[in-house]
Subunit: 236 residues, 2 copies
DNA sequence: CGGGCGTTTGAAAACTGTCAATGCTAGTGG
DNA sequence: CCACTAGCATTGACAGTTTTCAAACGCCCG
């Protein structure tokens, strides 16, 4: 919400060198980019920007996970997607918008760089590969949204939840002993907002799957023990 | 699917002068753009391009309506959006994709220009306003998809169908005596693919609304007589 | 004028949501 | 260090919208 403030120590260039939108830049260019950036740490659950607000800044998530949600007139939340560290967000400018199309809130403690949106056109024009890579990101997100529309239109709840779990595990999974765990705290409610159902139904499904040995879950943590069996469930 | 072929008579420049992506171009530039274009007429129901195919060309729809659909593994169709004359389509390149993300089929007889995708970067670089306007188009479509996800996640079928009807009427409505009619042939099945329900449910809803005097419909035609009442129905 | 395709309608079944109540966990503060 | 409590999760019973299944109708185009 309030404007991010620059930190005193200079940011290290290695922060960006391996991230796609900046990977083709020279050291000197990265220096310039970093000198224009603000860093900020966010608590878990903090709002980075709000749907409908002027798109003042765009962000690069350095650490943590962000949930992109829309909130309906009646107060219900619908989660559009999750963004892992290393991706841009708040890039309204890339799709010709002056305001943010959704609210971004952190799913974990997070760290992000940001730049004033007025620098966007500079970045696109000046930095080789920046535009290409950001449009790829847009493309992936559009693709993912598309997939969700198709799923919601054609599949039953069980399949949607299974698919959502698999996607989370693929995108943000952390390999642990006997399974893969979703790398951030996620509640039944969160999962239900991602799959257009209720927390009750999600709870029942997870309980059932746990009895079958497909998943294991504690409060806010979900571990998938048998991804393949889930893939089977996810099919109609 | 075979390649569009150029027509013999030269295309008139006035075709493009008032269309957003080209409206800032000079006459001479439009001439160049047109000389590189192919025109083609499509029958109603024809496929312009297919999901997953290499994005060889991008298109400007000059007349008619196009339906963008995705087809699931089990053969069900889900309609993503409708595109009216005057808009670009097949602009995979704008979102960093090499293949079309969905199938485009005509809802009516249609007329479209097209260019080889290799010209895309030229267009973006050379023509003032082209990039900006196309990204606005992308933004609008993303916004619309977003809205549909939210609707599907939070609303009942009746509200979704009402909202879909209103959107169609707003975007492609033609004012007629005592009402506004959707400007292209649309079946119950089509509407159900747009709202994630079945043709039966759509049929029942339309029958009920017709009894109430909100709409009037014949085979493949829907006329909205009382948009305001529909807006009320569309609310939760 | 015929038939195909779109449409209508009834009845029954099925998912899934709603309501309600309780149990449990993890973090907080004394 | 332990008790407390707020938030998260579980579960049963029930209701209701929506789909599914089936059958028949009727409009339009060729």
């Amino acid at each position: 919400m309030d404007a991010p403030k620059p930190t005193l120590p200079r940011l290290d260039e290695s922060l960006l060198t391996h991230l796609p939108p900046f990977s083709r830049l020279e050291r000197r260019q990265i220096r310039t980019v970093l000198d224009q950036a603000s860093v900020r740490r966010y608590d878990a659950g903090a709002h980075i920007f709000e749907e409908g607000a002027p798109a003042d800044r765009f962000y690069m998530l350095l650490d943590g996970y962000v949930r992109v949600v829309r909130i309906t007139a009646t107060g219900e939340q619908v989660t559009a997607l999750h963004i892992p560290a290393g991706q841009l967000l708040g890039i309204a400018k890339a799709i010709g918008r002056e305001t943010y199309p959704a609210t971004a809130m952190t799913a974990t403690e997070a760290l992000a760089l940001s730049w004033p949106t007025r620098l966007w056109d500079d970045f696109v024009a000046t930095y080789d590969g920046f535009a290409t890579e950001t449009y790829k990101t847009v493309g992936q997100r559009v693709g993912e949204m598309n997939t969700r529309v198709v799923e919601m239109a054609t599949q039953q709840v069980e399949q949607r939840v299974a698919n959502a779990l698999l996607r989370l595990v693929n995108q943000t999974g952390r390999k642990v002993e006997d399974g893969i765990e979703i790398d951030f705290p996620i509640t039944r409610q969160d999962l239900s907002e991602l799959t257009a159902t209720t927390l009750h139904t999600v709870s029942r499904l997870l309980s059932a799957w746990e009895k079958l040995g497909l998943v294991e879950s504690r409060r806010k943590r979900i571990k998938v023990r048998d991804p393949h069996a889930l893939v089977v469930l996810a099919q109609p």
